[in-house]
């Protein structure tokens, strides 16, 4: 009974209802405007919601997350510019549909399928998370360490230019997380005698810099890119279309949840995998893939929204974020005094059921706003870039300042912003840095606990891993991920079909 009350608390409290709606609405536009990303929005927003209660803050972020993952599809369909990385696969068939005058149909179909995908993700979250967290209580410290390593490696391996760059970015993030006083022995680490460094580097300043400032600086390169406008016809999709593709939608949602639930991997990879899956199982598409096949639109759109629910699973059960956005949200939970991990569900079941119910609500609002307001939409995405980027930077500066009311955090943010800009230009990903700084404490603590319980003996530690089925499996996955990056594997099996180029050339 209690669970039911928590589940619907955001549905009946007007302020939470409003914030979720506002989040979903804003999320759609943030996702749709190229250059603005959900990660950027959520990381800037965190600093503004410090003084709030945890539920309103979560309601707003859940709404933005859900709406934003969907919103990217709009510009992918209308302008052939994916508004967010998760919509890259959507543009492959969505834009050809729009060119044929079926933009409205494409938007309608992607909205409904995103809604169904989102719902599947949340249902899996509600069912799987309690079971996983019961199981996770039995995890050894070394297992936590291995899962964290796996998460960082997966992001590094799948999204970057090369594994070495991903590994560097991850290790750099973890190292940044160790700056300050050691929580166990109070020894100073990388403080260089400075008092302000003793509390460590603010992970929020780092996130705003890496996701906000660096992205805005990169986008200034394309200030004058002109978009081609499309006409929009009827937007509510045909019932027959939905029914015919329901099986594919559910399969793609399944892929989405699983990829989303893997620590570190999110909607972008899920969407590309689902697109590849749709191509393989659709034997006779009405329209060939790449030329406006509905299947090629449905699969990535349902998968990327299903990945949202999936990404919350490791975050709420293990304290390990499922993707970059949940890495930011986990930062927000820490600030609000919550400690995500297996005990969260036992100690604070209200938080869990609130999140589940609120995500469903965000999904519904996404459907409503997705199927309406298309006129305002075309106006808003025409917002001049010369105003947009200065505004993003202004909000980034204000956001960083408001963390501790100090200009020092603004300096950190700017420094990491410029550094992130160079990293992106030279083919490094910034997501592993963020995952690293979030997971640093967990890895350091668990490493030390694990090695102390083995009396400082490395052979005993290795034996412990190899003799425990769970640890051995996790180690196996890590070795496998590393192995798939070797030249031999790539020559033998080809590169994984996770890039647009790879898919296009298939």
């Amino acid at each position: 009974m209690d669970a039911l009350t928590y589940l619907f608390s955001s549905w009946i409290q007007p302020d939470l209802l409003f914030l979720t709606a506002l989040g979903a609405f804003a999320g759609i536009y943030i996702g749709a405007i190229p250059g603005l990303s959900v990660t950027m929005a959520v990381s800037i927003l965190i600093s503004f919601t410090f003084s709030w209660e945890v539920n309103p803050a979560l309601a707003l972020m859940n709404g933005i997350f859900m709406g934003g993952v969907y919103g990217g599809s709009r510009t992918a369909i209308l302008l052939n510019i994916p508004g967010a990385p998760a919509a890259i696969a959507t543009s492959l068939d969505g834009y050809p549909m729009a060119k044929k005058g079926e933009a409205g149909q494409a938007i309608g179909l992607s909205t409904v399928m995103s809604f169904i995908g989102g719902l599947v993700g949340i249902v899996v979250l509600a069912i799987a998370a309690p079971t996983i967290s019961e199981f996770a209580i039995k995890f050894q410290p070394r297992d936590y360490m291995l899962i964290a390593v796996m998460g960082i490696l997966l992001v590094g391996a799948l999204s970057g230019e090369s594994l070495a760059k991903g590994v560097f970015a991850g290790a750099f993030g973890i190292l940044l997380g160790t700056v300050g006083l050691d929580p166990m022995t109070a020894e100073q680490r990388f403080t260089f005698g400075s008092v302000s460094l003793m509390n460590g580097i603010s992970s929020i300043a780092l996130m705003i810099g890496m996701f906000g400032v660096s992205e805005a600086l990169l986008q200034i390169h394309h200030l004058n890119a002109q978009a081609v406008k499309q006409k929009i016809d009827r937007i509510v999709p045909l019932w027959g279309d939905i029914k015919r593709h329901l099986s594919l939608t559910l399969q793609s949602s399944g892929i989405g949840v699983i990829i989303g639930a893997l620590p570190g991997t999110g909607g972008d990879i899920a969407a590309l995998m689902a697109y590849d899956h749709a191509k393989r199982i659709t034997k006779n598409p009405e329209v060939p893939f790449g030329q406006g096949a509905k299947e090629g639109l449905i699969a990535p759109e349902s998968a990327n929204n299903a990945a949202v629910g999936g990404a919350y699973i490791p975050m709420l059960t293990l304290g390990i974020p499922g993707d970059a956005v949940t890495a930011v949200i986990i930062g927000a939970l820490f600030i609000h005094g919550l400690n995500p991990g297996p005990l969260l569900l036992l100690e604070k079941p209200d938080m869990f059921w609130f999140t589940v119910g609120n995500l469903v609500l965000a999904d519904i609002f996404m459907l409503i706003f997705g199927l309406t307001g298309i006129r305002i939409f075309t106006k808003i995405i025409e917002c001049p870039k010369a105003v947009l980027f200065p505004l993003i930077l202004l909000l980034s500066v204000v956001g960083a300042y408001s963390i501790n009311n100090s200009v020092a955090d603004v300096w950190w943010m700017l420094g990491f912003g410029v550094f992130g800009y160079f990293m992106k230009l030279y083919g490094y990903q910034v997501a592993p840095v963020i995952l690293g700084i979030i997971l640093s404490r967990l890895m350091d603590d668990n490493w030390r606990r694990a090695i102390i319980s083995e009396r400082e003996s490395l052979p005993d530690f290795a034996l412990g891993i190899l003799t425990s089925p769970l640890s051995a499996t996790l180690l196996g996955i890590i070795v496998f991920v590393l192995f798939t990056q070797t030249r031999w594997w790539k020559r033998r099996f080809g590169a994984a079909p996770t890039s647009v180029d790879a898919i296009k050339s298939n």
Partner: protein, 173 residues
């Protein structure tokens, strides 16, 4: 996975070298925390991570050096890595964060918006002025009044003004 470019990007070797030198410095610093005293010491984990950084950068450097150098480095550096727009814009942000504390949020942000919008759209001062005023009002209402974020006050006694307006309303009631 992104496609690897066939030639080096301009400045790539320098960037990798800077990262490598930085990582070696951090490794030395990590060693200084507690040396090789124990596997569970405060310095062991940072040392392992900085060692991973050094090794991965060494691999990246060797891969980068194997690719042919790009042609017309300086021109491409200016066009692809550091276009004038980005450099000037960075300068504007720097000035903004320097004057923020002293001048206060409203005037500093207004000047920043005015300068950067004028610069990015290449002139049209009147339009930039209007857009800056509009933006600053929106940001102020949303973040200061609705979200109650504390912003640097600086020269304008903004809190006193808000209190005065509130007292006017409460007196009216």
């Amino acid at each position: 996975m992104q496609e690897q470019p066939t030639t080096r990007r301009p400045g790539e070797v320098v960037f990798t070298l800077i990262l490598l030198i930085g990582s070696l410095f951090l490794l030395w610093q990590a060693y200084g925390i507690s040396g090789f005293s124990a596997l569970s010491s405060a310095g062991a984990f940072p040392m392992a991570m900085s060692a991973v950084m050094v090794v991965s950068l060494a691999i990246i450097l060797s891969n980068t050096l194997r690719k042919p150098a790009p042609a017309a480095v300086l021109e491409r550096l200016r066009a692809e890595i550091l276009p004038a727009t980005v450099v000037v814009f960075c300068g504007l942000i720097l000035v903004y964060s320097l004057i923020l504390d002293w001048l206060g949020f409203i005037p500093a942000s207004f000047l920043f918006l005015l300068a950067s919008i004028t610069f990015l759209q290449g002139g049209r001062f009147k339009r930039a002025f209007g857009l800056s005023v509009l933006s600053i009002i929106c940001v102020y209402v949303v973040f200061r009044l609705v979200f109650q974020v504390v912003l640097p006050e600086g020269l304008i006694p903004e809190r006193a003004i808000i209190a005065w307006v509130q007292s006017l309303f409460s007196a009216g009631i």
